[in-house]
């Protein structure tokens, strides 16, 4: 049983030989097996951010509204009325590929805990999903499992899932992405943080019992690339119990109204170890845990397993000394266990005792501050230059524009996501004003006139072809989506999904992504207040495309002013804001119709983008627009159709000025464009504003009939198109 702890054992824990040497040096001795387990998980990529930490510092994280930036369980911003919006996005990629239902479900459970740990009641979730080719043999199984898992957890805990995005790309055939975002509302003077204080104060364990599930989930599953044996890592995936989490949520929020609590932290990756070390570390304290007191699900568990279990629905908190019984009474009301498992100390050491013996005595600083930081080599891959080379002259324009448009509407990345979101409870909480299917979701802040706008965006084809510009465009697209419902963009949570950071080309993509996010967020005034890095999204040497998922939160002061994408009344004038350039590179059109994934992503002028936002928000506030819709993937033609696919379902007659290739005009993805419908009498005022703000404004036509008619090029009956667009995903996934 007492196997000597050697460098070989450290190898099995995913530590490098250098890291092993460092542990021995810091301790001045060999670690115990428990200590090795603790160090390995705390120093894992997933927990320590050792490859990304140095770069993440470049991101803008401050601003007038920022109440809590990165480093806590979630970020928080001031949304007025004495309230804070608390939010974060997090990945659960590796577990979801190995076991899609539970992997996705526990991803949702984890992000919900991060938010209510801060004292916020969750009010909305989004999910950003990336799957392989839709016709890949495993894709339907993964999609159905992930969607059912998200629904299972979110529906059962009573937090509405109000939006998200789904893309299919062969780059994710062997590594899917499941990024879950949750936002909650708290009183800004009652935000809870995970900072331990008061030596002698009791450490209390609450929630589900500890089992053997999820051991090494963070260190081995999430911090290494996949290979042929990855299926065998299924036991490292946790099992979710949303019912227990619902009880935990209510009990924690109730406890937070009292004065018994000092600090609280959820047990996520690396479970009890990481949560107690992080709380002690932030408070500059030590902690001693009595592992015999930890409530266990099964007999015979070793101290090693207790320390490293990733069983779900557990929290650890520090209470004021003498308040233990009061804390236990709150949890007892919700039929939950609350066990005193240790206390804070002032010796700066993380200690764990088991059956009278000390099995672990590690300096807290060695686990946190002294964790390795790597500035790994980065190098631009040679492939990019070739990939960006694209001559439109090589592409023949289609003969039948209506058929081409219909093909795009039925394609996996442009068709309706209704099959996905109808499996989610979008309504519980009673504040969902704009449901999934619009540019952004809108959730009213209960008891106020204000509303939060929420979106999540990232076009990974852009990122594959230009990792810097792709990241910029992800931020910009997110902001534009918020503006499209009438909200001012405020802040970002990012989920940075990349391949193996030990490869210079991946590290270069990552650095480019950070710089792109930084530049765009500075330009738009949207600080990054929380986030997550997911590396090692790679299988047998093949990485995913860079995917810096951007979740953005906006605010609308008067919810009555919100707008939706859909045409409202016949006779309204349709205008295009922004300029269409001859840009086809990296477009959905090139990929779907011509099978080409090449070229440079569309050009962006951040100043023009900001002017567009200012113009649109003023127009919304003055009630000058009746609908607004971002022109995104699929270009102008797809955007025009989408405006007909909701609300009263009205058609449009438009004429487009030529001057560039017709396919670029219809399907190109030029940035900084928005479609609006307006009353004719407001047109003059809008033209004046557009001139003042230097925003190109073009009248395209008017809302009319039940067809989309574009000059003499396109005549699309919307009723049949809509049915095909609505059911395409379900049909492609095999029901």
């Amino acid at each position: 049983m007492a196997r000597p702890v050697t460098a070989e054992v450290a190898d099995e824990h995913g530590l490098t030989r250098d890291e092993w040497a460092k542990i021995v040096q810091v301790l001045g001795r060999s670690p115990t097996i428990e200590e090795l387990g603790v160090v390995a998980v705390m120093w894992s990529e997933h927990c320590s951010y050792k490859s990304s930490r140095a770069w993440l510092k470049q991101l803008p994280t401050t601003g007038a509204r920022v109440l809590q930036g990165p480093g806590e369980n979630a970020g928080a911003i001031d949304v007025g009325d004495g309230l804070a919006a608390v939010f974060k996005i997090e990945s659960h990629n590796h577990p979801s590929f190995v076991e899609p239902f539970q992997g996705a479900a526990t991803g949702v459970g984890g992000i919900l805990r991060d938010v209510f740990t801060m004292g916020a009641r969750p009010v909305g979730s989004l999910d950003s999903l990336r799957f392989g080719r839709i016709d890949h043999a495993r894709t339907p199984y993964l999609v159905k499992g992930v969607v059912a898992g998200i629904g299972h957890y979110g529906n059962c805990i009573g937090v509405p899932t109000v939006g998200g995005d789904v893309y299919f790309d062969s780059g994710y055939d062997q590594n899917i992405l499941v990024n879950a975002f949750t936002i909650g509302i708290a009183r800004r003077d009652r935000l809870w943080r995970a900072r331990a204080a008061g030596p002698g104060n009791p450490v209390i364990y609450v929630g589900a019992r500890t089992g053997r599930d999820g051991i090494h989930g963070a260190s081995l599953l999430a911090s290494a690339a996949f290979d042929a044996t990855s299926g065998e890592k299924r036991p490292a995936v946790q099992v979710g119990d949303p019912f227990t989490e619902k009880l935990l949520l209510e009990a924690c929020l109730e406890l937070m109204q009292s004065d018994h609590l000092v600090a609280i932290q959820d047990m996520g990756a690396a479970g009890l170890t990481s949560s107690s070390v992080e709380m002690a570390g932030r408070g500059g304290l030590g902690i001693v845990l009595e592992l015999d007191a930890v409530p266990l699900r099964e007999e015979g568990m070793t101290p090693y397993e207790i320390l490293l279990s990733e069983s779900q629905e557990r929290m650890v908190l520090v209470a004021k000394a003498g308040h233990e019984a009061a804390v236990q009474a709150v949890f007892a009301r919700w039929d939950l266990e609350a066990a005193v498992i240790g206390r804070l100390t002032d010796d700066g050491t993380f200690r764990a005792r088991w059956r009278g013996a000390e099995v672990c005595a590690l300096p807290v600083s060695a686990l946190t501050d002294a964790a390795p930081v790597y500035r790994r080599p980065a190098e631009e891959p040679a492939r990019l230059e070739d990939l960006q080379r694209f001559d439109p002259a090589d592409v023949r324009e289609p003969a039948d524009w209506t058929a081409t448009l219909l093909a795009l509407l039925e394609s996996p990345n442009l068709c309706s996501r209704e099959w996905v979101y109808r499996q989610y409870d979008q309504l519980v909480g009673g504040q969902t004003v704009v449901r999934p299917g619009a540019d952004a979701a809108l959730v009213r802040i209960e008891g106020t006139q204000r509303a939060l706008a929420l979106t999540v965006d990232c076009n990974s084809r852009y990122c594959r072809l230009d990792p810097y510009l792709g990241a910029v465009l992800a931020v910009v697209e997110a902001a534009r989506n918020l503006v499209a419902v009438g909200a001012e963009p405020l802040a970002v949570s990012d989920c940075l999904n990349y391949g193996n950071p030990e490869r210079p080309d991946v590290m270069w993509e990552f650095q480019q992504g950070i710089q792109g996010i930084r530049d765009a967020c500075i330009a738009l005034g949207t600080p990054v207040v929380s986030g997550n890095v997911s590396f090692y999204n790679e299988t047998e040497g093949r990485s995913i495309p860079p995917t810096p998922t951007i979740a953005m939160v906006g605010l609308l002061d008067d919810v009555e002013l919100h707008v939706t994408p859909w045409w409202k009344a016949e006779g309204d004038v349709i205008i295009l804001l922004g300029r269409t350039r001859e840009e086809l590179g990296a477009s959905e059109y090139l990929s779907v119709i011509h099978g080409i994934v090449r070229g440079a992503p569309p050009w962006i002028d951040l100043d023009a983008e900001k002017r567009l936002h200012r113009f649109c928000l003023e127009a919304v506030h003055e009630r000058l627009v009746r609908s607004l819709h971002d022109v995104g993937e699929g270009g102008l033609a797809v955007a025009l159709v989408e405006c007909s696919f909701g609300g009263p379902g009205l058609g449009a007659h438009v004429d487009l000025e030529q001057g560039i290739r017709m396919d670029a005009l219809l399907f190109g993805e030029s940035q900084s464009r928005m479609l609006a419908s307006v009353k004719r009498r407001h047109l003059g005022r809008l033209r004046d504003m557009a001139r003042r703000d230097d925003v190109p404004l073009t009248v395209l036509g008017e809302v009319r009939g039940r067809n989309l008619v574009i000059g003499d090029l396109v005549d699309l009956p919307l009723d049949t198109a809509r049915e095909r667009w609505r059911h395409a995903l379900e049909r492609r996934l095999g029901g």
Binding site: T244, R422, Q426, L427, V428, T432
Partner: protein, 232 residues
Amino acid sequence: MRWGVVTFPGSLDDRDALRVVRRILRDDAIALWHKDGDLRGVDGVILPGGFSYGDYLRCGAMAGCAPIMTAVAEHARAGGLVLGICNGFQILCEAGLLPGALVRNRSLSFICEPVTVRIEAVDTPFTHLCQPGEILTLPIKHGEGCYVADEDTLATLERERRVVFRYVGSNPNGSLADIAGVCNAGRNVVGLMPHPEHAADRLTGGEDGLKLFRSAAAWLERRGAERIASTS
């Protein structure tokens, strides 16, 4: 009117139901707890939506045995008003206060979307302000909303006009006879799968659902000062 909304562990729409009756209808309302032994003098009980006790057994099976359900049953027997919404409907069926059962949707998937229902009976406390045949738009959000009952029960329900709500247009979950909601023989206990509390606000899903709550308040008023017996 004084409402009571029961919170079981795992109830989710309890806060929404309370908000609607308090803030929108301006009625008096209290939160009731699953372990309570009495209903503290309420006129009407709402069993809300959610996943009571996680619904890891049959939906509503555990909640049907909760301590408060004894008081709810007595309240119902005495003619008191009871409205079961979604999980609440499942609980009423499990508790034997309504006939039939709710099983897995025919599609096997959870479905969240607006549906249209036709008011089939206006002689219940919750529908008497509606017109016969009136169509309401209400959202559903459930995985187990397919109403089933044996042929005799179905025949009895139809004969006694106890089908209160019927899906029109399309049947979202495979319910027999398109049944969306039913009442008991005394007509004072009503259960339905759609969520009237989520159609009570112009901005978040329309106001069709308000009719059910307004009906109940008006019904009680019309019965004058007659006090519904309670166990308190």
